[in-house]
């Protein structure tokens, strides 16, 4: 596997983790989630790389890389986009009620 990909994955994942643990704005939490998801998907795609490989649609030069991770990644990206949209809908509805997007202030349900 390519070292650069590894490093990027590690950086992205930790950035995402840091964001969701530290940031109080709900939008930033969701962005953090997306970052973490991108990291995992990048890890998966990077693993699929075979040296001298080409896109696994119609291999014009030599063989294609492993297609299964690509399929899974596409699915996961779609699911991620859906989650994102839903998250934004929730935040906006909550904002309508609570007039804030501070995650720490959503504390009606406790105990």
């Amino acid at each position: 596997m390519i070292i650069m990909s590894f490093a990027t994955v590690a950086i992205l994942f930790s950035l995402g983790l840091f964001t969701i643990l530290v940031q109080r704005n709900a939008f930033k939490t969701v962005i953090g989630l997306t970052l973490m998801e991108s990291a995992v998907l990048l890890l998966f795609i990077s693993w699929a790389y075979i040296p001298e490989g080409w896109a696994p649609i119609l291999p014009l030069k030599g063989s294609g890389v492993d297609p299964l991770p690509h399929a899974l990644t596409l699915t996961a990206i779609v699911i991620g986009a859906c989650d994102l949209a839903l998250a934004f809908a929730f935040i906006m509805k909550l904002n309508g009620f609570e007039k804030t997007v501070d995650v720490d202030s959503f504390r009606r349900l406790k105990g």
């Binding site: 983790l17 969701i20 109080r24 939490t29 720490d104 959503f106 349900l109 105990g111």
Partner: protein, 470 residues
């Protein structure tokens, strides 16, 4: 199917007889105790269910069957107590179910190969079963629930509790040890007998006094149980029956006093002998049996107990002291409740107590019969050749009674209703719910509503798990 799950040996039939008589008496008593027809019907119905569950427990051939029927009898008693006192019923149920947890674990452990017969169990699981049965039969240290439960329930239910419910626990202990010598049980029994009598002397409340007296008498039973030997089974069962009948009568009398004067407090009772003559006579019969005067069943059962403890002089001495204490206790009850000057307004006319007196009277004949023909019950259990009415035995019991009376008269001023309290472990009965509530509050703090906190917990746990698995 019946043969696989139930056994009908003599010792079980004796307990079943006790249960049946007590339930019958309670049913009659309940007709007078409860005012509304609906309540009376409800009471009789669940009383019958309770009888069925106790019979199922006593005749069970497997530990699991015993446990199931005991839990069902607990639920039946819970419903009966809850008719009048909800919190007491709730605490009783919670404690009994907690004890049942130990029983379940022990039975599961012993029953890996197959269902366990209701009898002795291998050593590793003995403590678990002991703990579970100890809660049910109020062993020393695990008796914290008894004063409140027996003291505050409605009178007929207290009679059942003291009369038969704890006896099923004792029966389980009896079959668990199987006649072996368990020194710790003997010691615990002696301690219980002394402690129970001591605490009973200091109570202000009639029913709490009787509850502590139950602990004391259970101590006698457990001491004989721990001693082992050939005589332990008949002694234990005989005393269980006697105590059940007499304590049942005493609780019924206490209920009559409560209904008559509207109070259970000794400082406000008094002078019942003139107003309630029938009750007074029944009370004296029961008290005489508890003290162990010759002519009552108590004398015979105590004689048999002492015979089974012949090789344990220390335990016998403790029981003798406890006997003196018991005599003092019932002197106290008769002096302050039945004797003396009337302090509270009398609420009802004696005709109202027809049913209640009748219910109490149901139990009396067997006590007297057993007293005059003491050999019949042990013979039924297979133990013959006892001579009960010998001079040394009669002398011993009369001596204990007379000592008790003298000591009581000597200390009468101190034992007035407003005596000091010695703290007992029964405060745990209130503390346990608080402790669990505090534990709950701590766990509840984790659910603070902070999303970031939840995320941090998840991330940390993932890290820990990764470390653990590699």
């Amino acid at each position: 199917m019946v043969q696989r799950y139930f056994i009908f040996t003599a010792d079980r039939r004796v307990l079943a007889l006790l249960a049946g008589i007590l339930v019958l008496a309670a049913a009659v008593y309940g007709q007078g105790y409860f005012k509304k027809t609906g309540e009376r019907r409800f009471f009789s119905g669940f009383l019958f269910l309770f009888l069925l569950t106790v019979l199922g427990a006593v005749f069970s051939a497997l530990w699991l069957g015993f446990l199931i029927f005991i839990e069902l009898s607990t639920v039946a008693l819970f419903i009966l107590i809850a008719m009048k006192e909800r919190n007491v019923a709730f605490r009783y149920l919670a404690v009994q179910l907690a004890g049942a947890a130990f029983l379940l674990a022990g039975i599961a452990g012993a029953g890996i190969k197959g269902p366990v017969l209701f009898g002795p169990v291998q050593p590793p699981f003995f403590p678990l079963l002991l703990a579970g049965l100890g809660v049910k039969s109020a062993l020393l240290g695990l008796h914290f629930w008894l004063p409140e439960a027996h003291g505050k329930s409605p009178a007929p239910v207290s009679a059942l509790l003291s009369g038969i419910a704890v006896k099923t626990g004792v029966f389980g202990l009896l079959l668990l040890t199987g006649g072996a010598y368990v020194p710790s049980l003997s010691a615990a029994g002696a301690a219980m007998a002394l402690w129970g009598a001591f605490q009973a002397l200091l109570q202000r409340d009639v029913k709490r006094l009787l509850a502590y007296s139950t602990i004391s008498q259970l101590g006698y039973i457990v001491a004989a149980l721990g001693a082992g030997g050939v005589l332990s089974v008949p002694a234990v069962l005989y005393h269980a029956v006697t105590h059940g009948l007499s304590k049942g009568m005493l609780f019924f009398c206490a209920g009559i006093l409560e209904k008559a004067y509207g109070t259970k407090d000794f400082s406000r009772l008094g002078g019942a002998a003139e107003r309630l003559p029938g009750t007074c006579i029944l009370f004296f019969i029961a008290a005489a049996s508890m003290i162990g005067l010759p002519g009552t069943a108590g004398f015979a059962s105590k004689a048999l107990l002492k015979a089974s403890l012949i090789d344990f002089p220390l335990v016998s001495a403790c029981l003798l002291v406890a006997n003196i204490g018991t005599a003092m206790v019932f002197c106290k009850m008769s002096a302050f409740a039945f004797g003396g000057v009337q302090k509270s307004r009398y609420l009802h006319s004696p005709e109202c107590f027809r049913f209640m007196n009748a219910g109490t009277a149901v139990l009396a004949p067997l006590l007297l019969f057993s007293g005059f023909f003491p050999g019949i019950l042990p013979a039924f259990l297979g133990s013959t050749g006892h001579s009960f009415y010998t001079v040394p035995k009669c002398g011993e019991s009369l001596l204990a009674a007379v000592c008790g009376v003298f000591l009581f008269l000597f200390l009468k001023k101190r034992l007035r209703a407003s005596a000091t309290r010695v703290r007992d472990i029964d405060v745990m009965s209130e503390r346990f719910p608080n402790m669990i509530g505090n534990g709950a509050r701590i766990v509840q703090r984790l659910q603070g509503g902070f999303l970031r906190g939840y995320l941090l917990t998840a991330a940390l746990t993932a890290l820990i798990l990764m470390h653990l698995f590699s």
